[in-house]
Every structure is written in structure tokens, then in C-alpha cells.
């Protein structure tokens, strides 16, 4: 049981987290943007998250917290 949370308003939509995720369950929004206009990252399948925190380690904006 693990969970990654994106602080949506801190996300700049760079997508580095999407490539870092070994489970390929992090993706950029294709429709919704945050207030700054970025397509933010989100977890597409929380049940598959293993809490490895690789997405968070790759995030340049400390926009991801991970719980396990």
C-alpha cells in the first residue's frame, strides 16, 4: 500500500517524473492545467504504486510526496 501525491500547483509539467516511474503510472494531464497553465503530473493508478519515490527524486520542484 503506497501513495504518491502531486502538489498540483507546484508542478511545472516537465514530465521528468513520468519517465522515472518504474510502473509507468505517472502521466501528465492532457486536459486540465494548474493555475500557472501547466499540464500537471498525476498518478494514473494509485493501487499500482510501490512507493519507491523515484518520481519524487526526479522532480525538480519538490512537487511530489510519497507515503508508504
Amino acid at each position: 500500500m503506497a501513495k504518491m501525491t502531486v502538489i498540483t500547483e507546484r508542478c511545472k509539467g516537465c514530465g521528468l517524473c513520468t519517465a522515472a516511474c518504474p510502473k509507468k503510472i505517472v502521466a501528465l494531464q492532457k486536459e486540465k492545467r494548474n493555475k500557472k497553465g501547466y499540464f500537471y503530473a498525476e498518478c494514473t493508478d494509485q493501487s499500482a504504486c510501490i512507493g519507491c519515490a523515484m518520481c519524487a527524486m526526479m522532480c525538480p520542484d519538490c512537487a511530489i510526496t510519497v507515503e508508504k
Binding site: 526526479m58 525538480p60 510526496t65
Partner: protein, 257 residues
């Protein structure tokens, strides 16, 4: 559930001014993780000179000094010499460290100044909009090398770790990258080691971090990461260039003693 990953305490909880995908944020974070893990925020003074990271004083929660372009090693020397019990680091870009501040860089190292230099090498001047840096690769297009850097006109890139590792005062020189999670882990270990060196008084430590500049490279963030891996790492090999186990001043007899 327990939190397994969150922002380090010494990194102030504000959005940064860095572009999307810029790896400054990663380096800031791992530096602050080291500061937190060593419990030294209250005893650390950072020096950030001109460059994209000049405003890092808004992000690092330790005491901070903004320095002129290239002068951070001199400023840090003034801080460290008068506060030898404090941890002092500089955070410098490639134009700053290897062009306008080359003299300061070489001499802070050869003096064995007991400080940590974090050197961000992204092969370009970011803040001024993408001009040729001393580390710009041959044939790399920048605003001031519009047809690609021609070494016959603009010289060759500077390999900083290799150069500084020839100096006796350098205790530790390692080149790392922040293109992947394993490399980020290595980078953090290197920064930790540099600070441990300072704690032990071993001499000058530099960690060169291969970084990206998606905006001025004209690449999407993930493509920029790929360029770092495919073009930068072959030219700037990762690894430890110097690592003394004791102090660089061991067996030195000084006139003041």
C-alpha cells in the same frame, strides 16, 4: 502510512523561478537533504553568485550571501577564514566558475580552502539567455555560437574536475549527473562526502553536477535529459577525480606554527 519522501526542511517551501525541467531544483533538494541529514542548517553559510541560481537565497534556509559573477570562492574564503567552525558552500554555474571566476576557482582550490563548491555544468549561460559557456561542447549551437562552437574560433571546453584534481589543495573532486535516479543518488552521496570532508578539515571539495537547460538548449525536458546522457557524459566522464583520505595539509609544516 508513513511519509517516505518529502521536501527537506532546509529547502524553503516556495515555488522556484527555474524553468520547467531545469535540474537546479534537483540539486537544491539533494544539497538540502544533506544539510538536514547532517543537522548543520544553523551552522551553514551559502554563497550564490550571478547566474540562474543567484536567487537561491530565497530557497536555502541557511544564512546566504549573494556574490558577484565569478567571485563566490573569494567571498566564501572570507566567510570561512573568519568562521572556520561553520560550513561554507558555493553554488556556481559554468560561466561563473570556469570563465569569469577561473582565477578564484583555481586559487580557492590550490589554497586547500576548506569549503564545498557545487558546480552546475549545463554547457550554457542560462540567465542571460543561452550564450556559449566555457563548457559548451564543440559544435553546440548557442546564441553566440550560432553555427556551432568551432574550437578553432572559440577554443575547447574546460574540464573542471580534471583541471582542479591536479592541484595539491584539492581534497575531493567528483563529477556526477542528475539525469536519472541512480545518478541522483550518487550525486547526493558526493555532496555528502564533500561536506564530510569539510567537517573533517580535509581541504577543498568540488562536486561537478552535469545538468540540463531545456529552455536554452531548445529541447523538451526529457529530450534534454537524453542529450545530457548521449552528449555530455561522453565528453565529461562521471567519476571521482581526486579523493584524499586525510587532510591535504598533512605533513605540511607552516611558518606560523
Amino acid at each position: 502510512m508513513a511519509v517516505v519522501f518529502e521536501r527537506p526542511k532546509s529547502l524553503i517551501d516556495v515555488p522556484t523561478h527555474y524553468c520547467p525541467g531545469c535540474t537546479h531544483g534537483i540539486v537544491h533538494r539533494i544539497l538540502c537533504e544533506v544539510i538536514d541529514e547532517m543537522g548543520i542548517e544553523g551552522d551553514t553559510i551559502g554563497v550564490c553568485p550571478v547566474g540562474c541560481s543567484v536567487m537561491a537565497y530565497d530557497y536555502f534556509n541557511c544564512d546566504m550571501i549573494e556574490a558577484a559573477h565569478g567571485r563566490a570562492p573569494a567571498v566564501a574564503t572570507g566567510v570561512k577564514r573568519t568562521n572556520p567552525d561553520k560550513f561554507v558552500f558555493t553554488y556556481q554555474g559554468d560561466g561563473d566558475l570556469a570563465a569569469i571566476g577561473t582565477a578564484e576557482t583555481v586559487h580557492v582550490a590550490t589554497r586547500g580552502e576548506n569549503i564545498v563548491v557545487i558546480f552546475i555544468n549545463n554547457t550554457i549561460y542560462g540567465m542571460t539567455g543561452g550564450q556559449m559557456a566555457p563548457t559548451t561542447l564543440p559544435n553546440q549551437v548557442t546564441q553566440t555560437t550560432p553555427f556551432g562552437r568551432d574550437p578553432k574560433l572559440a577554443g575547447f571546453p574546460v574540464r573542471v574536475c580534471e583541471m582542479l584534481s591536479t592541484l595539491t589543495g584539492t581534497a575531493y573532486a567528483e563529477r556526477v549527473a542528475v539525469d536519472s535516479v541512480p545518478h541522483i543518488r550518487d550525486a547526493k552521496k558526493a555532496i555528502r562526502k564533500a561536506f564530510e570532508n569539510q567537517k573533517a578539515g580535509r581541504g577543498f571539495s568540488i562536486v561537478e553536477v552535469l545538468s540540463t537547460c531545456p529552455t536554452n538548449w531548445g529541447l523538451a525536458p526529457l529530450d534534454a535529459i537524453k542529450r545530457l546522457q548521449d552528449e555530455m557524459i561522453p565528453y565529461y566522464p562521471l567519476g571521482v577525480y581526486k579523493d584524499v583520505t586525510e587532510s591535504v595539509f598533512d605533513n605540511v609544516q607552516g611558518g606560523n606554527e
